[in-house]
Symmetry: C2
Subunit: 586 residues, 2 copies
């Protein structure tokens, strides 16, 4: 029989009607002459009632029902007695008097129960992912992700974008993160690589005149995993020709507005605020500022200079900075021990220490306060600190100060619950440096990627002083997370050549690796630019989760394996032989 509607959608408008429903038994209660069972499907629960009066046959079957049995029922929708109404359920005003029930499949007792509150470990959840995915919060999260996806398709189609697929079996490029490789059976010793992003292909599509491209594209990076990293992740990837950075941002804002509206019913204001990379680092100590709360970094150089505290003075003399954040009401909440823990933590950013003062009714307190007795008014004025607040200072070079105070600002705001989690605060970070220094490679690397166009006015610097160049690039930040980023790309061969040179390529090495792409630029590439949004992260933030695993149906665990199917696995000798491979087991 054809289902009438989803169980979770049976409400008062079905009163008096006969319905056919199909789903899972959430639980059942046998009261002797009456059996209640909750029937679950992806839209929610509905209460079924069985009695001898309604149907003897159905009652007999109902006695055998266990949780997670799959059933089909026929019944009549009736109103519940006043005192039985459940205002927390969409279907809470009705129940279904069940005259017929068919068991479509039985179920063993599940290793954990199918409900939002679960004590199952992460590994158990992944091992039995098909059960974990039955939990309503997982279903809600994947439905939010689906709604984002649907909105992206609709909005970009309406705006004349073409969905064009680019290859997943591509060529390995040593620039950037580590590639996943795929051995070729046709060419011994040769490998494809899974793409880290469709960057060059989408640029080629602009060169080919497609004008507006997008793709919801899987990307792959073989890097060690952190909380919100996965070996494969998904990008909303867009590229446009003949558009300025402003026009690209405007288009993106339209997309974000549509997504927020259709997924959560939230109207966001556009245009979205912009902040330069420099200002973001100065005020928030971060290139992805969370602007849902204050606690901005205050430059204290003028105030602390010459007060006699050597650490501050010598930092300033060496061309460094002294900055502070104010922790509102932090004087009581942060003990010396807790502050020392923070101090320990920020050593990873290169900070040599964390100076602090508490503002009390009796004046400044704490170990370094003695240097600032006479400057109390000035300190308070510069920071806006009031009695009961805690002041945290870092004195060092710009990067260390920003990284340390940027971290402290966010971690303390979270600890003190200063962030309004119902807010969705977008901000553009613009005017990025073109290059950044990589400690890992001990040289300058591209801050975004080597195809990013420098600012018009910095084009000359590209040859003389490349590391001073800023770029026509932009990140979109949501609640302190980098949601996406993009740039105007280089469409002229001469600029692309200079870019590779600035990155340390020789003419030969650039040619060997990207010669085919530079040749393409010879044949009439239009000005173009684009943007990619992280779909996993976007869905995670809109679903209110803190790990992208919660919005991916079948993620890998933190060791890049998949406990359900047991991937990766060993393979047969024959498979390896066909690929001309031997493995060195260790």
């Amino acid at each position: 029989m054809k289902r009438t509607t989803y169980a979770g959608l049976v409400d008062e408008k079905y009163l008096g009607q006969e319905v056919v429903l199909k789903g899972w038994v959430q639980k059942s209660r046998n009261l002797g002459n009456l059996i209640f069972a909750d029937l679950r499907d992806r839209e929610g629960l509905v209460q079924l009632v069985f009695s001898h009066e309604i149907s003897e046959e159905a009652f007999k079957i109902a006695e055998t029902l266990k949780s997670e049995y799959v059933i089909e029922i026929v019944g009549k929708v009736v109103g519940r007695a006043e005192n039985a109404v459940n205002p927390n359920m969409k279907t809470g005003k009705i129940e279904v008097e069940t005259s017929k029930v068919t068991i479509l499949n039985e179920a063993k007792t599940t290793p954990f129960s199918i409900e939002d509150d679960t004590t199952a470990t992460d590994d158990t959840r992944l091992r039995y992912r098909y059960l974990d995915l039955r939990r309503p919060e997982m279903q809600r999260s994947l439905m939010i992700r689906n709604r984002i996806t649907q909105t992206v398709h609709r909005y970009l189609d309406e705006n004349h974008f073409l969905d064009i697929e680019t290859p997943y079996l591509t060529r390995s490029t040593p620039e950037g993160a580590r590639d996943y490789l795929v051995p070729s059976r046709v060419y011994p010793g040769h490998f494809y690589a899974l793409p880290q992003s469709p960057q060059l292909f989408k640029q080629l599509l602009m060169g080919a005149g497609y004008d507006r491209y997008y793709q919801i594209a899987r990307c792959f990076r073989d890097e060690d995993l952190r909380g919100d990293r996965q070996p494969e992740f998904t990008q909303i990837d867009m590229e446009m020709s003949f558009m300025t950075a402003d026009e690209i941002r405007e288009m993106t804002e339209g997309l974000l507005k549509a997504v927020m509206k259709e997924t959560l019913g939230i109207e966001i204001e556009t245009p979205i605020k912009q902040i330069t990379w420099n200002e973001a680092m100065d005020r928030f100590g971060s290139d992805k500022p969370d602007i849902r709360f204050g606690m901005e970094l205050q430059d204290m150089a003028e105030v602390v200079k010459g007060a006699g505290f050597k650490v501050f003075d010598s930092a300033l003399e060496n061309g460094g900075q002294v900055k502070a954040i104010v922790v509102p009401g932090g004087a009581d909440k942060y003990s010396r021990k807790k502050i020392e823990e923070k101090q320990e933590y920020i050593k990873r950013f290169g900070a040599k220490g964390l100076a602090w003062m508490k503002v009390t009714d009796e004046g400044l307190a704490g170990p370094v306060s003695k240097f600032f007795k006479e400057k109390e008014a000035e300190v308070k004025e510069a920071t806006g600190a009031k009695a009961g607040d805690l002041l945290l200072f870092v004195a060092d070079n710009r990067k260390v100060v920003a990284d340390s105070l940027g971290y402290l600002r966010v971690s303390i705001a979270k600890e003190l619950d200063l962030i309004d989690n119902s807010k969705f605060a977008f901000i553009w970070v613009v005017d990025w440096p073109l290059f950044e220094y990589s400690e890992e490679f001990e040289r300058y690397i591209a801050a975004h990627h080597p195809f990013t166009m420098p600012n018009e006015e910095d084009l000359d610097l590209l040859e003389t002083d490349p590391h001073k160049c800023h770029a026509q690039s932009y990140d979109i930040v949501l609640n302190g997370y980098e949601l996406g980023g993009g740039s105007i790309r280089i469409h002229r061969r001469d600029i692309q050549e200079k870019m590779f040179k600035a990155l340390g390529f020789t003419k030969e090495s650039a040619e060997a690796q990207f010669g085919w792409f530079m040749e393409a630029l010879d044949y009439g590439f239009p000005p173009h630019g684009g943007l990619a949004l992280g779909l996993d992260r976007f869905a995670m933030l809109l679903a209110g989760k803190d790990n992208i695993r919660e919005v991916i149906a079948f993620p890998k665990n933190s060791k890049a394996s998949e406990p359900l199917t047991n991937a990766p696995s060993t393979v047969s000798e024959k498979q390896l032989e066909e690929l001309y491979l031997r493995t060195e087991n260790k």
Copy 2:
């Protein structure tokens, strides 16, 4: 300046207006005092006019324009003189008096010209794919593909399907085609596999209660390439719970109807005709019948029996068949030599010969006609052949007869141009055998895959005589191509176990390979089924092409390599070491 519209869309409604256009110079003609240039973008061409009167400056720049230069122009839309109107162009009634032109990028002379008629070889086209993709027919093809994709998203969203992504790094399963492998850096000697389809993951999603799933999913098979095969291809992948095969077909028909309407403006009739697999083999000699033309296979057993032609009689005595097709007007068009070529070709299907007769005004002609002199009227009546027709006979077992005549039917219809190429003829092929004999593996294999549900009434046969089982499976066929296929799946563990047994698995080998999946079936899987459509093939047919390379932006060539980026390539020693791999170069 912001573009007013696409060059190819500037028509009479812009008359008198100033427009800003951006695109590529298709060609330019300098008449001395007047320069004409065609400006191209993805929507088409528009004619630009430059003259000393309109703008001296623009005229000077226009003199330097070459094909494929990228330009931006400002101009006024004016009507063309009566005799200059080009009725073949959407923009043929107007031209743009260009007052300003900016060269945005120059272009070298391209290795082939950017137009539909190209003499460039396939390899040149792939080597310069970004130029090949500029050709209008490639752009039209990729736009048709995009329109299919957009319609799929819209239709399935409206029908409550959820777009859910499944992993691309999965576990290798030896059943089926050859996997592409991806070595793991974390687990020495272990490999992920790229999925051949999301089959088990979509079934798990049904087990997890998502009810209606779809995904436009990339699939990977490391097989030797044929005309319409690629290492990676794309499936419109759907799965539904609690639906019968009829309901799944109805849903699919709605999708096909929407796609045909939105891509080509064609209304197709639904419900789409169904034919059983048996009938398709009998009448068309094919499990993917092209029903746009007749020439069906005629059973000639009753007519030819005992006529004295040994070949026919012994085939029938051995339990085989004698069948014929009529080639209308074929008597003149097929010489003995041409028929012998056909005979040679069908040897690959196991045919030992091809008997033929021509129907002439003087009766039957040809080497075997002497046996049928007395049966001429019967032969003509059974086949419907008229004077001038050619009769082709194959006598052998059922499979050889079907394969041979099925091939002859289609190849001859193409040669004689008997097929109406403007037609799009869909047909369902239903009630497939559950198993088919594989010459390659010398055993029975699953005709679709091991998760296909047998027909209700054949469930008992699964243990006693499995190879007689038919399945709840269905293919959708378009113009003689298998567009897609699907089935009701097995949702009960006991049936799945019997299925593996029938496929030759031991209890242990089934457990080792699919134990995790059979365990999932223990926990309450709903009845479910689905379907996958080949997007590449669908786009190819709607674009009127005969190779899926023509509807893929960056395909591999026939040797699975990609001549533009040169994938696959060798990789560094360091990359191999990190993966614990050594290659055996040959």
